[in-house]
């Protein structure tokens, strides 16, 4: 296959995902409503109870709304990544995943195209959310909105690869919906998305330890720092390394010769 052919394949997979996204307006609205409820309702309520001390990367005391925006960005990507994986299980059940898997490209490449497509969809959602947050008064430095692009790419791949890996363990859609609940909620709540780690430690050392091992914590911190034009090397490194590991496992899981699908006797 020529290099150009790889490009056309990627364009096709991404284009299809975007088309599906455009056709599913309710999905777009749902993806926005969830974080907006947190921003407008929960944050208003928790503001007084939680308050946030001066922490990096913020240079001063901030409102709780400001603190949770990066976490809500992560939330959008987390839900989108899982939803995309859910659609992979659906596609597998309905058969359209087969069309992708029998095309003449290496399977790892096809899966990366699929992840890229879902990540780009989540990035569209994130920027619309950030625009609304900006109009609401949660304003980061303008350059920060460009700085978060690579962070969003990494986070999108991280949660997408996790969902893809999970999708190799289940054959039926119903099972996957259950698994999602056991993944999404712990991942989100046991992270620094809603409260800083130091505050979690004050409440429960065990929860703090769990949150410290949660890769989503590092993805959120990577986004938080990037939004304020800073690079958190530790968070970025851990998020990137986790992405590579999860992606490797997901590709292995979809390998018909070696992965989970092979053990279950097929696609």
């Amino acid at each position: 296959m020529r290099v150009g052919a790889y490009w056309h394949c990627m364009r096709g997979v991404v284009g299809r995902e975007l088309l599906r996204f455009v056709h599913q307006r309710s999905r777009f609205i749902a993806a926005l409503v969830r974080p907006l409820v947190w921003l407008f309702v929960f944050a208003a309520g928790f503001r007084m109870a939680l308050g946030v001390a001066m922490i990096d990367p913020y240079e001063t005391y901030i409102r709780y709304e400001v603190y949770i925006v990066p976490g809500l960005v992560g939330m959008i990507q987390l839900f989108n990544g899982m939803q995309s994986s859910l659609s992979m299980v659906y596609d597998r059940e309905m058969g359209s995943m087969r069309v992708l898997l029998v095309s003449p490209f290496p399977r790892w490449y096809l899966l990366i195209c699929k992840l890229l497509a879902s990540t780009l969809v989540s990035m569209v959602q994130v920027y619309v959310f950030l625009l609304i947050a900006y109009l609401y008064g949660v304003q980061a430095p303008l350059a920060g909105y460009a700085y978060i692009l690579p962070a969003l790419l990494v986070t999108g791949f991280l949660v997408g690869a996790l969902g893809m890996l999970l999708s190799t363990f289940v054959r039926q859609l119903e099972n996957f919906a259950g698994i999602m609940n056991f993944v999404i909620f712990p991942m989100f709540f046991l992270s620094s998305a809603l409260y800083p780690l130091w505050r979690i430690r004050e409440g429960s050392y065990l929860v703090y330890q769990i949150a410290s091992f949660n890769p989503f914590t590092y993805a959120v911190e990577m986004i938080r720092f990037a939004l304020y034009e800073q690079l958190n090397l530790t968070a970025s490194g851990i998020a990137l390394a986790t992405t590579v590991v999860l992606l490797g496992l997901a590709i292995w899981g979809y390998d018909p010769a070696r992965g989970m699908l092979a053990r279950k006797g097929g696609e």
């Binding site: 052919a5 029998v102 490209f105």
Partner: protein, 250 residues
């Protein structure tokens, strides 16, 4: 090497085996389909037809046996092998919310085609099926027979040398089924594409077809309709089929 590949059969399967855990699904399957040949893979439900298709398309993988498409080993040269095959799965695989054009262009992209080339091929295949007017219709608006035709058009978009159809008439009425069988026979004759048509329906077999009877994962018969009926000492392929699949495995 190039000459060798050019002379290779469209599909060659040697000593293929596969099991779901301890249950054997395919047992020492041998199969060879020449370029431009139409072959019916006939077997009852659960005979192993879909497993065989899944192995040939490499959705499943087997450690036992060899599968080659136009001489390209599926394990070692999966990309070359996949590029030469078109597949129509048993389950419909078109995206219902996209138009026919969008579905076909997507498939073209999955075979590395530019949009322009994919569009040209899509029009060519749709005209052949007299379905050009459906180009901008959403797949959801098409009848079952039309959807199957679009799937076949999609399977042929990249000019494969081997077309695999796994029970493509499932869910269609009798007239649509007949039309589809005729259509694929014509394609086979016109384009020289080798076809492996899996079915459990006897009435989809033409008198001149080569038939492979698969049951409990084993090939029970392989030959022209006349040869099989003569070998079984019966008048019709239906009677021969009944006799073959009733036999106890040795």
């Amino acid at each position: 090497m190039a000459d060798e590949i050019a002379r290779s059969p469209a599909l060659e399967i040697h000593d293929l085996g596969f099991a779901y855990g301890a249950t054997s699904a395919l047992d020492h399957v041998e199969l060879r389909i020449a370029a431009g040949e139409f072959v019916v893979l006939l077997g009852p439900n659960g005979a192993g037809k879909t497993t065989l298709f899944s192995l040939v398309t490499r959705l499943y993988d087997s450690r036992q046996g060899v599968i080659a498409v136009e001489g390209h080993d599926l394990h070692r040269h999966a990309i070359e092998a996949h590029a030469r095959m078109g597949v129509v799965f048993q389950q419909p695989t078109l995206d219902l919310d996209l138009t026919v054009k969008q579905n076909l262009l997507y498939h073209g992209a999955l075979h590395g085609m530019t949009r322009g080339l994919a569009y040209q091929r899509a029009m060519e295949q749709l005209s052949r099926m007299q379905m050009q007017e459906s180009l901008h219709r959403r797949v959801r608006q098409l009848s079952g027979g039309q959807r199957r035709r679009v799937e076949i058009a999609r399977g042929l978009l990249h000019y494969p040398r081997l077309l695999l159809l796994d029970e493509p008439t499932v869910g269609l009425d009798i007239s649509s089924r007949r039309a589809l069988v005729e259509h694929v026979h014509e394609l086979c004759a016109e384009q020289g594409v080798a076809v492996l048509w899996a079915t459990h329906l006897i009435d989809e077999v033409h008198a001149q077809d080569r038939v492979i009877v698969l049951d409990r994962g084993r090939i029970m018969a392989d030959g022209r309709v006349d040869d099989i009926t003569a070998a079984q000492g019966v008048e019709t392929i239906g009677a021969a089929f009944d006799r073959l699949v009733d036999e106890e495995p040795s």
